[in-house]
């Protein structure tokens, strides 16, 4: 049996989600824009899912805009919002630990003349609220701060930043892809204007996500086409995917406090076991402000790439850095941003627990890892 400890990369689809999607795929084939009964049934399915997403995040259903995933949501938030600006290129504030689907649109905007301030994180992987606020200028059109980092799991002080940014009258976006379903993301108390998430990070299907766009914030669609999603996103709705996202959100809402504490117990068991059994390790990122399921550890003098592959052959899936197109592994930009050396970054592994992980599996990892680390340290030319 494989042991899957890479839930920050993607998660297994819950049976409840697969069942709901199966029903749609088999019997609700209608186009949600069609007037007839088939269309109405599909539309109703989308609305049911919209209500479920809205309920989890405590927003209005009308705020939920379904997309093809978090990358599209982030692109829409950044490019769509700024495309409708009439004053020409302005200024943006973000962090230096954003996901590539935020970074890349920002770089695109920079090439178009925009100015971007990337507030650096500290050694714990956190930005300071004050530093973000201090970066705001009269020209600032948007502040975007990741809710929780995908590699370290470190949580940013989004609640405080959102409130302070609101006081400056600047729109605020957060990429909450890693956070939703693992910790409470309650937008009734956090003044976020735009928020991105993806279904496959919370036991839903791949290829669907959403952008939360609150308070009627105006933006241009980036996928031009039909009038779907209230003219904010062209393209026939992925009804089965949307239904799956809805069920995944409903499950998260019901299970969340218990789910968080179960993930935390597993993650802590892993970290405590590693500390007891493997010398020369160091945890990357804050141990307090961190997703309950995430653990990023440097194994001094061992190549993360070799460890990852050796663990995989032992039946255990973990992650190291960010895989690039050829499958090679570059040192994590997030760890470098935290001031870690390239060697330390290359020697780090990300382990993230989730649905289906139990204590027995954690103990199996703890049984094989010390010896693998020892062997990898003898063979770590990279």
């Amino acid at each position: 049996m494989r042991i899957y400890l890479d839930h920050n990369a993607t998660t297994p689809v819950r049976p409840e989600v697969a069942d709901a999607m199966d029903v749609v795929q088999r019997s609700l084939f209608g186009n949600a824009s069609s007037v007839h009964e088939e269309g109405a049934a599909a539309k109703a399915e989308c609305d049911r899912a919209r209500a479920r997403v809205a309920s989890l995040l405590r927003v209005e259903p009308a705020d939920v805009l379904f997309t093809g995933g978090a990358t599209e949501a982030n692109n829409t938030a950044l490019l769509g919002l700024l495309a409708q600006r009439t004053e020409g290129p302005g200024h943006l504030v973000t962090t230096n630990v954003e996901h590539p689907s935020v970074d890349a649109p920002l770089e695109w905007l920079e090439r178009a003349g925009w100015c971007v301030t990337r507030v650096p994180v500290d050694a714990e992987g956190r930005v300071e609220e004050d530093a973000v606020v201090a970066a705001i200028t009269p020209e600032t059109a948007l502040v975007s701060v990741i809710w929780a980092n995908n590699e370290t799991g470190v949580l940013q002080p989004v609640e405080a930043i959102a409130a302070a940014v609101r006081d400056h009258g600047v729109p605020f976006h957060s990429d909450a892809t890693q956070a939703v379903g693992k910790v409470s993301v309650d937008l009734s108390s956090v003044p976020v204007d735009l928020l991105s998430l993806s279904a496959h990070k919370l036991n839903g299907p791949k290829g669907v996500g959403c952008l939360i766009a609150r308070g009627g914030i105006a933006f241009e669609p980036i996928l031009l086409g039909g009038p779907q999603e209230r003219r904010r996103r062209g393209g026939t709705e992925n009804v089965a995917g949307i239904a799956g996202l809805g069920v995944a959100c409903e499950l998260a809402e019901h299970e969340l406090p218990e789910r968080s504490s179960r993930y935390r117990a597993l993650r802590d068991r892993l970290w405590e076991g590693l500390q007891a059994k493997v010398p020369g390790i160091r945890r990357n990122g804050s141990a307090v402000f961190v997703l309950p399921n995430s653990l990023n550890v440097e194994f001094e003098g061992a190549a993360g790439e070799i460890l990852l592959q050796a663990l995989d052959l032992e039946g255990i899936a973990v992650s190291s850095g960010a895989a690039c197109a050829s499958g090679t592994i570059e040192p994590s930009q997030v760890l470098l941003a935290m001031g870690r050396s390239p060697e330390a970054a290359r020697g780090s592994l990300r382990m993230s627990v989730g649905y289906g992980v139990d204590e027995v599996q954690i103990d199996q990892l703890l049984a094989v890892l010390p010896d693998l680390v020892e062997r990898a340290r003898r063979a770590s030319t990279v």
Partner: protein
């Protein structure tokens, strides 16, 4: 449980067939494609890694990329450039085999619980019935033999290496490829140095060592008479005829490169012949160094049939090679590899010819 074996897979037909044969023999074969020179080189590109991945997947094998880009730049590419800048003509493939494929990959294989690394090289390894030591022998297909690039392997490496194709001729390998339905079966073979895909060595040297280029210098004859100018010694190799820009009545060739004075020395065809060469940093594949002198067939370039010679072993790991007949263009920086029949005795690096 079947034996776990790592296969170095380039994406090409040879290593693909090697992998398929191991799987057929019941190994738990794990494919690894080394990422060395990165994109823009002929090997190790994303497309090659994808080819290897597809082949491995079709064979039911696991496949990984092993990223050694930083080490490769330092240990192979920078040394390659420095050799050119020192007036020599390097062969990076030897170090790539000795260090990367059969040292670092063996290290990684051991972490994986695999005892051997297999590759698609054309060479054979067997046991010497008298000494019990491993012997490195030329491939059954002499035209494909790659032992010239493998002479630096040590006994402990040979005992952890498998060459499944060593006893086959190329047509058999192609037949196996078709039998296994390998999609790379008709792919063109690479011959050039992988990170010099277009054969422009000088441009690669300039890219790797932009700050260390010697610049223009004189082209001289054996007496030191200046015949012309050159654009940098890294554009030249011993025996080269093209690119000298001289108008002479007889064809002239580069006979040596004088890095110290930044000069390219030219001569006539007969000036390229030599009967003696000094070979340094010699390693003896078949165990220890011979006592004093031995006879061997010596190859001074890949694809060369070799010339009979007497080898005199000196104290500092160097060997004086006295060829039975003159050899052409003894080129500093190239390897001299010593053979007894089809057995590789050892080899080293040509320091220079001795007049």
């Amino acid at each position: 449980m079947s034996e776990r074996t790592v296969v170095a897979m380039s994406g090409g037909v040879d290593s693909s067939v090697a992998a398929a044969l191991l799987v057929e023999q019941g190994h738990e074969a794990i494919g690894i494609t080394m990422s060395l020179a990165g994109d823009g080189s002929r090997c190790c590109s994303i497309a090659d890694a994808d080819d290897a991945r597809r082949v491995a997947s079709g064979l039911g094998m696991r496949h990984f990329i092993a990223n050694y880009g930083d080490s490769f730049r330092r240990v192979v590419q920078e040394v390659f450039a420095d050799e050119y800048l020192a007036g020599r003509t390097p062969i990076p493939c030897v170090t790539c085999n000795t260090k990367f494929k059969f040292e670092y990959l063996i290290e990684r294989a051991r972490v994986f619980g695999a005892s051997c690394v297999a590759s698609g090289h054309y060479a054979r390894i067997d046991d010497d019935p008298e000494t019990g030591l491993k012997r490195l022998r030329t491939a059954a297909d002499v035209s494909k033999d790659q032992t010239y690039f493998l002479f630096e392997l040590k006994q402990e490496q040979l005992s952890a290496v498998l060459f499944p194709l060593g006893s086959m001729v190329k047509s058999e390998v192609r037949a196996h490829a078709r039998r296994f339905g390998l999609e790379t079966a008709d792919k063109a073979e690479s011959q050039e140095i992988c990170f010099v895909p277009d054969g422009d060595y000088a441009a690669v040297v300039e890219r790797i060592r932009p700050d260390a280029l010697p610049g223009e210098g004189d082209v001289v004859d054996a007496n030191g008479t200046v015949l012309g100018r050159h654009a940098g010694i890294h554009h030249f190799t011993v025996g080269q005829r093209r690119g000298l820009g001289l108008s002479t009545s007889k064809p002239v060739y580069v006979s040596s490169i004088d890095a110290e004075n930044n000069r390219v020395v030219v001569g006539e065809s007969r000036d390229l012949d030599a009967t003696v060469a000094c070979v340094q940093r010699v390693s003896w594949v078949a165990g220890g160094s011979p006592d004093r002198s031995i006879r061997a067939r010596v190859k001074i370039r890949h694809g060369d049939p070799g010339v009979a010679a007497a080898l005199y072993v000196c104290e500092d790991d160097s060997v004086r090679v006295e060829f039975d007949e003159p050899v052409r263009a003894v080129t500093p920086g190239q390897a001299a590899v010593f053979y007894d029949g089809d057995i590789v005795l050892g080899g080293g690096w040509i320091a220079g010819r001795i007049a």
